[in-house]
Symmetry: C2
Subunit: 184 residues, 2 copies
DNA sequence: GTAGATTATTCGACTAACTAAATAACATGT
DNA sequence: ACATGTTATTTAGTTAGTCGAATAATCTAC
């Protein structure tokens, strides 16, 4: 019966979402940010040079809200604000290296575990996993904004991989930015 | 090269997470709840008869925080508090039908799209998707609390399936509970 | 060039989430 | 029985996120 199949696949998908959700909540904390702040950062990282209006629209909040979030993130050196050349009312947002590091560091815990298991799979099974995941991503409608401008594949994984286990977070990992306890 | 494979699989996984994340933020709003409130509800739904301490631990907050969240959710009839029989300091939390409805309604938009595509797949491909998703869930460490006590498979999907497209949210969908605009 | 629309920011005010500390009720070990 | 630990709640106070309205700067049409 394919009714059972659909159920099974939904349950498995749910388990995946649940696992990532649990991490997701803690990720921001690990980065010393709130969930909302990290989200702004992620959006800017993905879009690469966008405007406050875009971010506000994508998050479903007003410009006023974004304005103060951006202000904080800029004061921490995580994103950069500069007046647009073409339309001087607008502000061009770009993510800084420090901000990019925050975004990249985030998925660490999840990825490390996953990558370890994945690379232990036999070759044919790896291929199958890739094929299916891409199919599922498509079925979820996640397909469009492919070719992420900033987060290239190598960048995403460079940290999570690498066999030097101890310092999973790369080297510096601390700039000016807030504490890991209280995200002002 | 299996380096490329790992990258590809991570990218696909990322796309899945991104898609669900975008929905995830809006889900709470659709339910007229905040993200945190919905999360409490989800945890109680999964665990089925648990204690505030458990929820607090899982969410990484203090008991005090949970206490007031639970109070609100109870006042809205979404969860039930009753003194434990075995240890009368403890409170047994259970989700109410109304609360369950909130949790189940949530993934609708996502699921409908997914299920539609999934059921259009040829048989062998459905089997493959199920197998891989379960493997991935295991690799992500999502494996343990299987056999969800409350959310049985049928319940999860009964709403999302069914070809009557228009009223995707089932019938009643509105009880006493807060508005969809401002989640007090 | 002037009128009207857009873009971003600031200000004031409100709510949700969170904590620490105090309290109350209950359990447990000795 | 008593001391100690656990569980949940309340209280008071902090912070972050959010909005609406007001403001300033700038673009666009006419």
């Amino acid at each position: 019966m394919d009714r059972d199949r659909t159920d099974e696949s939904l349950i498995a998908l749910r388990r995946i979402l649940r696992a990532t959700d649990l991490y997701g909540r803690d990720l921001a904390r690990d980065a010393g940010l709130t969930a909302v702040q990290l989200r702004v950062l992620q959006i800017v990282a993905e879009r690469g040079r966008c405007h406050p209006t875009d971010v506000a629209a994508q998050m479903g909040v007003t410009q006023a809200t974004i304005s103060v979030l951006i202000k904080k993130l800029e004061s921490w050196g995580l994103i950069q604000r500069e007046q647009s050349a073409t339309d001087r009312r607008q502000i061009d947002l770009t993510i800084t290296p420090a901000g990019l590091e925050k975004v990249e560091v985030a998925p660490d815990a999840l990825q490390q575990r996953y990558v370890r298991h994945f690379e232990a799979l036999p070759d044919w099974e790896q291929a199958m996993v890739v094929a299916v995941l891409e199919r599922v991503a498509g079925m979820l409608g996640a397909g469009n904004f492919d070719a992420a401008p900033v987060l290239a594949a190598g960048d995403i994984t460079r940290q999570a991989r690498g066999t030097n286990g101890e310092t999973g977070h790369g080297a510096p990992r601390n700039g000016i930015v807030p504490g890991r306890n209280r995200a002002q």
